[in-house]
Amino acid sequence: MTLLKLENIKKSFNLGPLQVNVLRGVSFEVKTGEMLAIMGTSGSGKSTLMNIIGFLDQPDSGRYLLENRETARLSDSELSAIRNKKIGFVFQQFNLLGRLTALENVCIPLVYRGIPEKEQKSMSMEILEKVGMADRAGHKPMELSGGQQQRVAIARALVGSPSILLADEPTGALDTRVGQEIMNLFLELNSTRQITTLIITHDPRIAAQCPGTILMQDGYIADREESQ
């Protein structure tokens, strides 16, 4: 089943007098349960593409269908609701809130859904257990290692059962061994729970472990490989 479909997506930015065409017509499809790596040099447009897929940004032109629904011209509230329910973000810098405990960080997406606190806690604990962080639920991010923080961040991205997991250089701030552990977690989540995953990465070793790869170049998709 097609989960998301991009058709001729274009996006440009004005940098002073200069107009930079970051995306010059990107089209591709992602099926439910797929796991894709998005590779490309910096400036190739992969981050902008990620922002558009994650509804943090909207394209200038082109169509974006998520679960067969047109997503153009949505209001801020509607975009926020889609991010909240359909998208799970994982960032390079983990982006946990320092004042909150691991458990409270995982609860955030549920808070914005208006789920009662008790339910938030039980749902979050359940997902923390899945990523192996249940015993650290009461710790602040400062008290956790990088790999542990990223596990909490993944739990936060997954807690709302999103349609798609968007990871932007998830192993970029970790050493190779811990990075590989995080990668194993993504692979495991994808194979056991069929979680659709897009991973932006520079690292060919990470990309090689993904069943599919999209190569971005100068605002176009230069290549798409499926290893199967």
């Binding site: 922002n51 994650g54 943090l56 940004d57 801020d76 509230s77 926020s80 609701a81 991010r83 909240n84 329910k85 973000f89 960032f91 982006n95 809130l97 004042r99 955030i108 997406p109 808070v111 914005y112 859904r113 208006g114 789920i115 009662p116 606190e117 936060r156 709302g160």
Partner: protein, 394 residues
């Protein structure tokens, strides 16, 4: 649910930037405290004067001599002439002249400066006083220095271990005086001289004898039943029409007193109101400043929250709740200080104290309003941040 989570979040964020929050609050604390103190003190003072009129009645006049400019010394009223007024004027039933002085009370090497007042026997009834112990001054005391202590003075003396029961002897301006009684505390207002509460009372002839420079500058007069203040005023004016040009008569009626008091309250209210509003504006700007810094510092947090599904509205609420909570804390602290101040002033002035609820509601209401008004702009800014740029900030 979101409100509850936001409140907890706001409290945490304020606590984590404790120093900044406390500094920002100073303005609000001072503003709210002065507003509360102002409203409470005004209300308490008004209640106190009303209580005085309730105790004394409003059928009284206070007659003072006033010097014209250029004349240093007034001779004051003649005692004999005043005492004959109830006989001569049909509108006046009782008169109570008094003379004031200020001196040093001494006993066992301890010295206190106090006001003293010379009064006649009629003063007791005029002011509707009561005795805690002993008796009041009698016209038969003549120039014998028999003294009645006011309640506050008696308490002060007792605190220093000085005997105050009838028969004890004290020295006023180096003259021996004998205590004959202590007056019960009464409500003090514009009609009752404050010596009733703070000083000693002596027979008027004794006081004039002991301090020759004192004069009878004032007497109080109670109207006979059925006579109006206007009539009484008119009769007294005619009676004193033979006064020299340099000595003017000032007759004050309760109506006039109340009007004058109200004018004074208005001035007082205006002044403290101005101080209060200025500190509140300064406090509000402080809150806005803290919130703007907080928004700048937490851009990344805002970006993260937006990515996780927070709507602009949610972010706006989060920061608005934080600023309201901040100024509400200021409001509570300020209310507490304001109430404490009015309590202190009421105690010092010998008024009955009570918490003025209207003032508290005003204080809390105003602080919430400040939180909303000065927090709105920073909250709007936070909500308007572009999530992508917010996420990229360090």
């Amino acid at each position: 649910m979101i409100i509850k989570a936001n409140l907890r979040e706001a409290a945490r964020s304020l606590i984590s930037s404790r120093q900044r929050s406390i500094l920002a609050l100073l303005g609000i604390v001072i503003g709210i405290a002065s507003v509360i103190a102002l409203v409470s003190i005004g209300t308490l003072a008004q209640q106190e004067s009303m209580r005085q009129f309730k105790e004394m009645g409003t059928d009284i006049l206070s007659i003072q001599t006033a010097n014209d400019r250029g004349e240093d010394k007034s001779k004051g009223f003649k005692l004999q002439k005043i005492l004959k007024i109830p006989e001569n004027l049909s509108s006046i039933s009782i008169v109570a002249p008094y003379a004031s002085s200020y001196g040093e009370l001494r006993k066992d090497g301890k010295r206190i400066n106090i006001p003293a007042m010379g009064v006649t026997e009629s003063f007791f009834q005029m002011n509707r006083l009561a005795m805690t112990e002993g008796r009041f001054i009698s016209d038969l005391d003549g120039i014998t220095p028999h003294a009645c202590l006011s309640s506050n003075l008696a308490a002060r003396l007792k605190a220093q271990g000085i005997e105050t029961n009838p028969g004890s002897e004290l020295y006023y301006n180096n003259r021996k005086i004998t205590v004959i009684g202590t007056i019960e505390p009464v409500a003090i207002g514009p009609m009752r001289p404050y010596e009733i509460q703070e000083g000693i009372l002596l027979p008027i002839t004794a006081l004039l004898h002991m301090s020759p420079q004192s004069i009878i500058s004032t007497f109080m007069a109670r109207l006979s039943p059925g006579f109006t203040t206007a009539l009484g005023t008119e009769e007294i004016k005619t009676c004193f029409s033979d006064l020299t040009e340099s000595m003017k008569l000032r007759i004050i009626s309760p109506e006039e007193m109340i009007a004058q008091m109200e004018r004074q309250f208005q001035m007082f209210t205006l002044l403290l109101g101005a101080i209060g509003s200025i500190s509140l504006i300064v406090g509000g700007v402080g809150v806005m400043n803290v919130m703007l810094v907080s928004v700048t510092e937490r851009k990344r947090e805002i970006g993260i929250r937006r990515a996780l599904g927070a709507r602009k509205k949610d972010i706006q609420w989060q920061f608005l709740i934080e600023s309201v909570l901040l100024s509400l804390v200021g409001g509570f602290v300020g209310s507490f200080i304001g109430v404490a101040t009015s309590w202190g002033i009421a105690r010092f002035s010998g008024w009955q104290f009570e918490i003025v609820h209207g003032a508290l509601i005003l204080g809390v209401g105003v602080s919430v309003a400040i939180g909303i008004f000065f927090g709105y702009y920073p909250a709007r800014q936070a909500a308007a941040l572009n999530p992508i740029q917010a996420l990229r900030t360090d």
